[in-house]
């Protein structure tokens, strides 16, 4: 019962409100959104406007959505490439320092996401530390404008911002692998690499999928990283479309439609995760 109540209050009700806004209208004088609570009276004008402008010659929302998939794919892969070795190292070679290393890995959580991004704004300025480091103390003048509409900066920001969220579930997954299985593989003559490839990697697959989901889902809705590290429409993401819409009162319905679209799209990887987890649990039983 508490679970049903929790779901009703924190999921069903907010989703219903979003639907009522997406299929609602707006006050033509004050431009404020008017949710339509009765589904029989829903007006699909705003939702249709969004859908009509995603693909085709008038599809001006399309590029931002495509860009989001590309950015999220690269950033998730990049975050995994960094996180997996780190989590593996802490798990296998952390020894008595595991606690300390984990604390250090969690440390970024103590600083707000915004503050961490603002720190990068400082570092990436034309006169900032990054350019100064690249110029090797002024030997080779470097004036890269990192903060002005560069996709690479946005992807880097996403990787940096979400890496801590990936390391922890990976660590938890790797730590759960029985050391005796690895020892058995080694005893049976497998090299370190073969042991990793045939034992550790397959057994950490659920943790990899979970951690990828954990970071890619919020990345899809992220607008803040792009706003702070680029600020250019040329790197706008799905989250920026939502944010731009909700900041204009008469476009709140469009924002709500984007949200529903994102929800539907993200259901696919969620469903895959639930299915694969259920299958593996079944195999274990």
């Amino acid at each position: 019962m508490p679970g049903v109540l929790w779901l009703a209050l924190l999921f069903v009700l907010p989703l219903y409100i979003v639907l009522c806004l997406a299929f609602g209208t707006f006050d033509p004088v004050f431009r404020s959104p008017i949710p339509v609570w009765n589904p029989l009276q829903w007006d699909f004008t705003q939702a249709r406007y969004v859908l009509d402008h995603i693909v085709g010659s008038d599809g001006f929302f399309g590029p931002a959505i495509e860009r989001t998939f590309v950015f999220v794919f690269i950033a998730s892969a990049g975050a995994l490439a960094i996180s997996y070795p780190v989590a593996y190292y802490v798990c296998r070679f952390g020894g008595r320092r595991k606690g300390l290393l984990l604390t250090l890995l969690i440390a970024p959580f103590w600083i707000s996401y915004m503050m961490r991004m603002l720190a990068w704004v400082n570092l990436l300025q034309t006169d900032g530390l990054v350019n100064r480091a690249l110029s090797l103390g002024g030997l080779f003048p470097v004036h890269v404008a990192w903060l002005n509409g560069r996709p690479s900066t946005v992807v880097m920001g996403l990787i940096y911002g979400y890496v801590p969220y990936m390391i922890l579930p990976l660590y938890a997954g790797l730590d759960r692998i029985e050391p005796s299985l690895i020892e058995a593989a080694r005893d049976l003559g497998a090299s370190r690499f073969a042991t990793f490839r045939k034992v550790t990697l397959p057994m950490s697959k659920p943790a990899v999928i979970a951690s990828l989901l954990l970071v890619s889902l919020p990345m899809f809705g992220d607008y803040f990283t792009n706003d702070l590290l680029s600020g250019s429409p040329s790197t706008a993401m799905f989250g920026n479309l939502i944010n731009n819409a909700v900041l204009v009162p008469q476009h709140v319905g469009e924002g709500a439609t984007f949200l529903i679209l994102m929800f539907i799209v993200l259901l696919i990887p969620m469903a895959y995760y639930v299915r694969s987890t259920a299958r593996e649990e079944g195999e274990t039983v």
């Binding site: 431009r31 008017i34 339509v36 009276q41 034309t126 600020g231 250019s232």
Partner: protein, 393 residues
């Protein structure tokens, strides 16, 4: 300017979509000034009333848009009455207006733009003023005793002015923008790709594109908007501009080399220069005369106020010369005080001579173009163009 018959959706209990006409208001412009009605159930208070004791005046305005010293000096002035002043902030006036309307914010004074007055008067959200409490109106430009958006200043007092133009750094931009045939063209110059920004305000930015093409900045014409759409798209693909309102820090810190800027932000840039760097590298250009893009915002008394006397005394306080000049130092935005001129501000050290062009002149305000309210359908067309630009298509 044609009369606008605006209608409002019926906001019934079910939030039904049925529309019902509930209001009619005019679109004010210099060519068609508007005198708003005074309704029987929303009249000015009587003259000669004693200020309320224990009043706390809450001002609903932008962040960092009011000098804390102005609040303190008011509290000191009316200490005998126990007056207090607090501030509640908003991000944009449209959302703020929505909160006032729904009762989400309790405030005494609001800081709207003049294209919102019609809605607020019609919905009786603001109260008419009794001029006997606001004698300092004589300190500001005479225009404001009979502004086009509120003839006979029945509901509004002027607050701050903002011209719009281009700011740049002479150490990063080789051209003198002010001397270019069409200074706006530099925002499309590939040489400055990823080095510039435009203002994240649809009327200001799209108005700039219209000005670049010598078109009226309040156009209703679809072909003009199509041109704006094309040129904004070109800008997106040639110079990849940042679209934000942080130009006042981005230019001093070299995040951008040049930017579209409000004159007040250009003045503000001086105080954001990093230590050891001279503000002499900063420059500002804004069109003048009939091409000038100059506007002002307002202070209005909300009808919900419980302290109408003290509230109007505060409006009066903000037009006091000493308070206004101190507020200018704090915000960078200029009050329309008659004693303030570019020469005086330079002489008094408020603005360096290199930035004197950021000071708005009365003649520019009177001859220039103003951002006017648009009918809902036209505004929706503007918003659609802006939405496409911001989506980065």
């Amino acid at each position: 300017m044609a009369f606008l018959d605006a209608c409002s959706k019926k906001n019934d209990a079910t939030g039904g979509a049925a529309a019902a006409p509930t209001a009619t208001f005019s679109v004010a412009s210099p060519e068609a000034p508007v005198k708003w009605p005074i309704y029987d159930d929303n009249k000015p208070i009587a003259s000669g009333l004693t200020p309320e004791h224990g009043a706390t005046i809450n001002i609903y305005t932008y962040t960092d848009y009011l000098d804390p010293k102005a609040l303190k000096s008011f509290e000191t002035k009316y200490k005998a009455y126990g007056a207090k002043v607090t501030i509640t902030t908003f991000e944009d006036t449209t959302t703020a207006l929505g909160k006032i309307r729904t009762g989400g914010v309790q405030a005494d004074i609001f800081n709207p733009s003049y294209d919102q007055i019609g809605k607020m008067v019609t919905a009786k959200l603001i109260a008419p003023l009794n001029h006997s409490y606001i004698p300092n109106i004589s300190n500001v430009w005479s225009t404001y005793s009979n502004p086009f958006y509120d003839q006979e200043w029945q509901y509004t007092t002027p607050y701050l002015l903002y011209g719009t133009g281009i700011a740049w750094r002479t150490d990063l931009v080789s051209e003198d923008v002010a001397t270019l045939t069409n200074p706006y063209d530099i925002l499309w110059d590939p040489k400055y790709a990823r080095k510039l920004s435009v203002l994240d305000d649809y009327r200001t930015c799209m108005g700039m594109v219209l000005s670049r093409n010598k078109l009226p900045i309040n156009t209703y014409k679809p072909e003009d908007l199509a041109l704006v759409h094309t040129q904004l798209s070109e800008m997106n693909h040639t110079t990849f501009p940042k679209v934000n309102v942080t130009d006042y820090t981005d230019l001093p810190t070299k995040i951008v080399s040049l930017c579209q800027a409000w004159a007040g932000d250009a003045v503000n840039m001086l105080s954001y220069m990093p230590a050891g760097q001279s503000p002499d590298v900063l420059r500002y250009w804004g069109p003048s005369g009939p091409s000038a893009a100059v506007d002002n915002d307002l202070l209005v008394m909300l009808k919900q106020t419980k302290y109408p006397v003290m509230t109007q005394l505060f409006l009066n306080h903000m037009m006091d010369y000493d308070v206004a000049i101190s507020n200018f130092s704090f915000t960078g935005y200029q009050p329309p005080q008659t004693l303030i001129t570019p020469d005086k501000l330079v002489a008094d050290g408020f603005v360096p001579a290199t930035m004197a062009s950021a000071v708005v002149r009365q003649s520019d305000y009177e001859q220039g173009q103003h951002i006017l309210e648009l009918p809902p359908a036209v505004d929706a067309a503007w918003q659609a163009v802006w939405e496409q630009f911001k989506a980065g298509a």
